[in-house]
Symmetry: C2
Subunit: 116 residues, 2 copies
Amino acid sequence: MNPEDPAAALVTGVLVALADPTRRQLLDLLADQGQATATTLAEGVPVSRQAVVKHLTVLDDAGLVEATRAGREVRYTVRPDALDTTARWMAGLADQWDRRLARIKRFAEAAERDDT
Amino acid sequence: MNPEDPAAALVTGVLVALADPTRRQLLDLLADQGQATATTLAEGVPVSRQAVVKHLTVLDDAGLVEATRAGREVRYTVRPDALDTTARWMAGLADQWDRRLARIKRFAEAAERDDT
DNA sequence: ATGCTGTGCAACTACAGAGTTGCACGTCGT
DNA sequence: ACGACGTGCAACTCTGTAGTTGCACAGCAT
């Protein structure tokens, strides 16, 4: 995954965002409620509103949530696209490893046959 | 994803492990070479051998690599299982969000029809 | 036996990020 | 106009972790 690749940057952001348990919890709440503000979300999580705001910023940068201004409040929504992309990337990586391992295994077996 | 769930712990470990770019690079090298030692891997990465060892420990705890002792050296191998599990978890989550969003959208449209 | 090479352990530095608090500003309802 | 509420900004603390260096120990070769 070359760092110049824009898709790579997206994946990195998603992984970093999901690595934090509080952020996963926030995503869970958001997906459940469909829409919520930072203040509301702070009630369902053991940290301050400001901490929630920071987490939401990270999630926004990762493309996992979307912020919409409505008067004096900001409503957040879940965005599945980035998550989906990352899931596909990961599945592809797992597949790649599987194939490489299979190739190496064939190699080892061939070498063994040559010995005996 | 409830924290008591053993599968959740596995997923968390994988996410944390993959969130670091150096660790992803190490996994790339490992998957490419099939097998390598910490000392060898340190040559392909811009950090010291000790740093590499620490990263490999994290990857091992996450179940992404396996360490095998061979005389005085320790050979590391990639393990696709944990990655595969996490990829599936993520795909499931993306799907879940999609369905929730679809449900909410229907809700909103129904409410709009009631208004007009 | 001795030197070379790969690991392991420990102490240390440094920086990023998770969290907090306090206050100022815009917005809504009355 | 005024109070209440939601948000934004800034400064600060603190812990975790990535990284380093130095040294001791174990295994291999000659």
